[in-house]
């Protein structure tokens, strides 16, 4: 899994790149010190966060399919359907800003949850790039690092 982070509020440059690989069900290569909760930075009430780009890659598999991503914890933010931005692209484009949103929280953490977003492949073992951000309501405070997302996928090894 690789995570790319950039800021949408400052001129677009990939400000951070990390590569994380799984093998046989375990993390085998973690070159990222940012691995963990996605870092959306500091967001004030009424502000839009920087966009975090994440991609699922599973080199231990021959193929991955049926890839989905879900919002599993809103980090204390009262959910509304115009806060947690998500979109995806086969291109790594630092200018993309999500204009669609998660429509609910996957509270049961299941692959079949209706609020998961299906993500297409960019190759046999890699998902498209997923772009995530947070559009914070004016009356809401945000504690960075507690929003959680999760991947689901089928794989053959």
């Amino acid at each position: 899994m690789a995570i790319y982070t950039r800021s949408t509020t400052t001129p677009a440059m990939l400000s951070y790149v990390s590569t994380i690989q799984y093998g046989k069900g375990k993390l085998v290569d973690q070159t990222s010190k940012k691995f963990g909760a996605l870092n959306f930075g500091t967001i004030g009430p009424g502000e839009k966060s920087k966009t975090v780009i994440t991609v699922l890659s599973f080199p231990a598999a021959q193929a991955i399919k049926n890839i989905k991503i879900g919002l599993v914890n809103a980090g204390g933010i009262t959910f509304a359907n115009n806060i947690f931005g998500v979109t995806f692209s086969s291109n790594l484009d630092e200018f993309i800003v999500p204009e669609t949103y998660f429509q609910g929280i996957n509270t049961d953490k299941s692959s079949t949850n209706e609020y998961n977003i299906a993500i297409e492949n960019q190759d046999s073992i890699t998902s498209n790039y997923v772009y995530l951000n947070i559009d914070l309501p004016k009356n809401t405070q945000f504690q960075a690092g507690v929003v959680r997302y999760q991947w689901w996928f089928d794989y053959a090894d």
């Binding site: 959680r148 997302y149 794989y155």
Partner: protein
Amino acid sequence: MWNAKTRNGQEINEKNSQWSTISKDVCELSLINKNNQTISLPSNMPEYIQFKSASANMVGGNVEIESRVIGFTFNNMIVCVRLDEKTNNISIEVGKR
């Protein structure tokens, strides 16, 4: 865990072989659940498949296998048996190839 038998009589399983290296030679395929119960597919079907459904939490770093699936093709259909790793529940999924 899946268990397979190839046309030359070799018995192999998930722990000692990669599916991609033997998939075309499989003539028997089964799954064993946590209680050591076996779910077997019909023998000598034209083609067998297996895959796993998994989740990955961005925080923990581990891939968790949620269910294992084995199946076969028959008359342009795919018939699969899914075994839930947590509950041991079994479901059958049928679809067009």
